[in-house]
Amino acid sequence: MTRPAKIRCDACPVMCYIADGKTGACDRYANAGGQIIRCDPLTILDRRIAKGDEIKPFLAANWDGYTATGDDVTVSAIGAGTTYPDYKPAPFIVSREIAGVDCVTVVTEAIFSYCGVKVKIDTDRHLGAEAATVRAEGEAIGHVMTSEYGSQMLSLGGVDHLTGGSKAEGRTTCDALLQLCNKEAVELTVDGGSTVVVQAGQAPIVDGVREDRMRVGCGSATIGMFASQWKGLVDEVVVVDDHITGVVSEHQAGKVIDWPDTGIRIKGHRSTPGRYFKVAEPGQGWGGTNIEDPLTILGEWRADKGAKPGLRLLMVSTTGDHAAYFVLNDALEPDAAPMPQALQPSVDLIAQNCEPALCTVLFMGGAGGSLRSGVTENPVKLTNSVKAAQTKVTIGGAPVYRWPGGGITVMVDVTDVPDGAFGYVPTPALVAPLEFTVDRAAYEALGGHSTVIRTLSDVLETGGEYGADARIVGTAER
């Protein structure tokens, strides 16, 4: 067996020997095939990634004449190398033209001690009480926030979990945040609640069960939305739902359009007219209940309240996944019958209005004074310039929401950020790519480090302090 080649890193005075594929003592520099690299090469984002083109590695040596100036390419901070704590300019201050304006993009990897993620989980299942502790691998990493429409919110991370608790808590929090930000799956448990597997852009898995679709609304709401479309096509509609099952003839939405009584009887706790709780137990059947045969929730039909032979009944689940059509026989028992063509579109409409259930992960962090000083010599000028919308802030090239008020506190949907863009330092804290884009004159007015501005083509050809490796994300072909 031959020993892997080891080489010497000169990024700091320790001058570690690093084996191929390993990092040095700092975990920041690595040996990749005999070359010392920052753990991520500088990444250039092609705006045409929006078209869904595949991510392609790019090597400066194979530059094919594709012009990198202009609106198509954003210089991202992924792999720029951090200057933290900054008393020197950010690693890349790149001059390029956007729409005829000489623009300056300042790119740096920012260490966010003050950071976390806000997670939205599309599910109607109760994940846990508000403020309940959320754990990863047994360590407290956050808490349950509010329930929102059809979804539940978690707040994970934050400086108290990262650095305010035990070493294990900080490390576990950092690990979980890093995985979530890099679009990997993380299993979370809620004290007194559920276990949920969260992955950005993917369906949540609650207590081992994958949530596929978000329902339009509860059974009652579905009745409200579709009652007028059913009028005349069918005599009774039951929308089966684990939360609130709706019955159109009894429901207020039916009453206002003079829907006649049908003598139907639902086995369950009536809440208000046409709305029933607990028609069954929760499960994998109709509308999140354990029902396989929907007729089991119906009692005897009452002739004195309007039941008659030939009465047409539609039963449908809140997601439109299940639907069945029945006609009452002479004994006032529902017999299954083929779904009339006229009714099918309303069932399809329910299904169409159900959106895929997803987990959404928003990274949230604040850019502090030291980070801003890597960009300009007067940090507050940068803050004010961002607020005045003169300087654009992006994370890994993705647009951010900036919170009003003091400082530069931003949120970004991690699915908009290229894969593997987030890193960490053992502080523990997350490292995120951060870019400030401003036109050159304004940058100089901000007190920017104008002496170290380089052209985009120079950065692409010669790279930064560590390696000329750059890659274009998105296609770079003509």
Binding site: C12, V14, Y17, Y84, P85, S370
Partner: protein, 267 residues
């Protein structure tokens, strides 16, 4: 090559970084800025001082006379531990914390200060001040009256390699360097030799210039039967008790897969 870097964190702690060293420093009281200046000044030459004697520091202690003050702290911390493989590198993190703390409070003495070097922490406390830390079993509070001024944690999951399988061994001692080397050696002694659930690799395969050379370091520990966990922990606790009897450490908390042992036991 990058120079030492410093930054004030938003909560007024100081972050110093150079190569593999990250220090988080806190000072209470009106002398904070003066202390931070002193810390930055001392930190400027920490790494270069160590690097100059690195090859000797990676060898078990011989009769080397180290000229760098941190190297001397490291040598002093490992000196009492004969009969077991250890190099001064086992004390490097704690010794850096001790040195920067000492430099920081030489001219201006604040009521409370600490230097946290990746979990190996040097403390200064006076009056009614106390320092709170969390361990796998309980919160640790150190008051000014107590003699502990160093806290260190070691385990196979940490940044340095371990010969043992402890998830974490936290040690309180009079200095961070002493706590550091003790935590390393106690964590090494928490072991179940030859157990199939434990994966190991030569240290040199992971880090070519590791002071541990070809010694096998732990890379993964699968679930262990409760009896093996207890046996491994008691092996570590015995080493810890011995260190306590000899006056090197004040307290140790050992944890492995949910079980913990404490030395001394009556705490």
């Amino acid at each position: 090559m990058t120079a030492p870097q410093h930054a004030l964190l938003p909560d007024c702690r100081l972050h110093l970084h150079h190569g593999p060293i990250d220090l988080i420093i806190g000072v209470e009281g009106s002398k904070r800025n003066a202390c931070y200046r002193a810390a930055c000044e001392r930190f400027a030459t920490v790494l270069q001082g160590l690097v100059a004697e690195l090859s000797d520091l990676r060898q078990p202690l011989q009769n080397t006379r180290f000229s760098d003050p941190i190297a001397r702290r490291m040598a002093q911390a490992v000196a009492p531990h004969g009969g077991v493989f250890v190099t001064p590198m086992a004390a490097v993190a704690g010794a850096v914390a001790d040195e920067v703390l000492a430099a920081m409070i030489t001219d201006h003495v604040p009521p409370k200060a600490y230097v946290n070097n990746g979990g190996d922490i040097a403390l200064h406390l006076s009056g009614q001040r106390s320092f709170n830390a969390r361990s796998p079993t309980a919160d640790i509070t150190i008051t000014a009256e107590e003699s502990a001024r160093g806290i260190a944690t070691s385990g196979w999951r940490g940044r340095s390699h371990s010969l043992g399988i402890a998830d974490a061994v936290t040690v309180l001692a009079r200095t961070a360097a002493t706590a550091d080397v003790a935590a390393t050696l106690i964590a090494n002694a928490v072991d179940v030799p030859g157990h199939p659930a434990v994966s190991r690799q030569p240290a040199s395969a992971l880090s070519p210039d590791s002071d541990l050379g070809e010694r096998l370091v732990t890379t993964d520990v699968g679930p262990l039967p409760a009896a093996d966990i207890a046996k491994a922990l008691s092996g570590g606790a015995k080493v810890a008790q011995n260190m306590m009897n000899r006056g090197h450490i004040l307290q140790a908390i050992l944890s492995l897969q949910g079980q913990t042992n404490e030395v001394p036991l009556d705490l």
